[in-house]
Amino acid sequence: MTLTLAMGATIVFAAVLAAALYRQWQRGRNLRRQLQAAARDLEHLQNACARLAPAGVVQSLVADGIQPDAGPTAERKLATALFVDLVGFTAMSERLEPEILLRIINGYYQCVSEAIDEHRGHVGSFVGDGIVAYFGAIQPNPWQCDDAVHAALAIRASIRAYSAELAREGLPPIAVGIGIDRGPGLAGLLGSHARREYAFIGRSVNLAARLQALTRVHGVDILVSEALRTELDPGFILTPMPPVAVKGFVEPVVTYAVEGRSAHAEIAAGPRSPVRSSRDVFP
């Protein structure tokens, strides 16, 4: 009798223990699943955020966090700013239905963004129909000037193809103006405690925007500054433009229109960068 009771108690105890262990295992498994789901959500969020800011910046934020009361996290850099704007956008926006306009402008954003990515730049922001891009603002890039002009030429080609596509559909063609300058500035997360964005600020961004506006004055589509010209590969074909007074700048601004790229660097038209010694190349 006692033995039966003891065996019964043991069986009941074992069953209770097994049930408890099973529940614990189930809880652990659920927790693991939740953890995995949270990790997946975090990855998705990170991927989504990568569309809003450079991937490296998003990774830093996720990994390091950002203190709400922290000061500016920008650092001094030498970078190249490229400013693109759609020619005649205001008139177009008055003529077209908003849905068609949205389609056209999204296609334009896509053309420009792809060309900039392809040439190692990154899109800083979309300002209406204007796009600001930077080269060398995130990681050091000694070839930033050549990259920016290559990107501008790629934008020209891509917009021409897109414009032809629009024309085939009976939509108005588009054209762009591009200004490029290089200079020192502050790069990093800028903004208020509540809202920040990755940006590069400095004189070169302002001048790039002004040069973009000057493309209408000179009747060309890509203009670069004198500072940028001195760093450029001589293989680019440049045409000097007459100096023009520009708002915010004391001296008239000297600019060069970019015609294209010569197949033979040695016979490239336009002024050439001086060849320096490698002691200058490695600062």
């Binding site: 990774q59 070839w143 190349v281």
Partner: protein, 362 residues
């Protein structure tokens, strides 16, 4: 256990695996486990060997805590978005007995709950990979502040460099990462985990002091000398000697690749070494300056012109974009040439970063 890098776009593999019994046996002897990935590199033996010989897990570190080195490898691989190396390191940690939960915690909140020394080492690894030598200067000072000695710091520099090298060597040809990513979820590896653990433990070894057999004469000789007495010096010296001796690319072409990467990283110490070696190859200063400023010059031959441009792509990269650019080289180069390019660019990236920190020019 999904890997944190599974979302990273990864192209199909650029090269075909080619079995080589001797090299595979060499890798198995050293690591204890079959290293199938080595088959992708066998046409260029120095690279296949270097991927094993420069792994910080096997007999190279004398001063740095091995756990810190393991974490550094994981973090740098993540920073470089190398799905293969990240999965391999994760599998290694898992094989050593680290729980899945612990690995995931490490991935998700790396900076939290770590000892100050570990946190400083990780911060250095991340900064070096993300911003290069110039931005790693403060992180380097933080290492000293966290109490790391000179020998430990040199081993940290080596661990980060070796991982940068391995990351690029596996990322450029898009070595398949899926089998390694899936390993911890598969029945057989889970069943054999204790045995795997034992094998890994048996082959994992600390470095023994080893004199430098002969003075290095090539570029980076001064860097090797700084590691004199450490097994790192011999392993690195031998890899560099074999790389220069390998016949698939000319010495001048390799030097140009090194020069472009040094320029991209702003490494003055490397530039000095390479400038001296370039002189012996008949490239004068103005020509070199022109190449480094615009990645082109009339004196370059077709392959050199192609490769100096490719070299800069390996400094900072998005894996899929880099893999697509590497694919475009495939039609212009033989398979051994392509693999040698992968090896030289990868090694140059590691060495330049290491040199900048160790020689104090960061």
């Amino acid at each position: 256990m999904p890997s944190a890098l599974e979302h990273v776009a990864w192209e199909t593999c650029l090269v075909d695996p080619q079995p080589d019994r001797a090299l595979e046996a060499y890798a198995r002897r050293k690591t204890g486990i079959p290293v199938r990935s080595i088959r992708y590199f066998t046409p260029v033996p120095w690279l296949a060997r270097a991927l094993i010989d420069l792994h910080p897990e096997y007999g190279l570190l004398m001063h740095l805590d091995q756990n810190i080195a393991d974490l550094l490898t994981l973090i740098v691989s993540r920073e470089n978005s190398c799905r293969f190396c990240y999965a391999a390191q994760r599998a290694l940690l898992w094989g050593q007995g680290m729980s899945e939960a612990h690995i995931q915690r490490l991935e998700q909140e790396l900076s939290a709950g770590l000892a100050p020394r570990t946190a400083a080492a990780i911060a250095f690894g991340r900064t070096q990979s993300r911003g290069g030598p110039a931005t790693a200067r403060n992180a380097c000072e933080a290492l000293r502040g966290a109490g790391f000695g000179e020998d430990e710091m040199k081993e940290i520099a080596f661990t980060v460099a070796a991982t940068d090298f391995s990351n690029r060597a596996h990322t450029i040809p898009a070595i398949p990462a899926r089998p390694l990513e899936r390993m911890p979820d598969q029945f057989l590896p889970r069943l054999l985990r204790p045995i795997i653990n034992r094998i890994i433990e048996r082959h994992r070894s600390r470095g023994q002091s080893a004199p430098l057999k002969r003075a290095p004469s090539h570029p980076y000789a001064r860097l090797i000398e700084r590691y004199a007495g450490s097994p790192i010096a011999s392993a690195l010296g031998q890899t560099i000697e074999e790389m220069w001796a390998s016949p698939h690319l000319t010495r001048r072409c390799k030097l140009l690749i090194f020069a472009v990467i040094a320029r991209g990283l702003g490494c003055e110490a490397c530039a000095l070494e390479i400038r001296k070696a370039m002189g012996a190859e008949g490239l004068n200063e103005p020509t070199l300056a022109c190449i480094l400023t615009h990645l082109d010059a009339p004196e370059l031959d077709e392959i050199e012109r192609l490769l100096v441009r490719f070299a800069r792509e390996t400094i900072w990269f998005d894996p899929a974009a880099l893999q697509r650019r590497a694919r475009s080289l495939r039609d212009r180069l033989s398979v051994p040439q392509l693999i040698e390019v992968i090896g030289v660019t990868s090694l140059a990236n590691g060495l330049c970063r290491m040199d900048a920190m160790v020689m104090g020019h960061s």
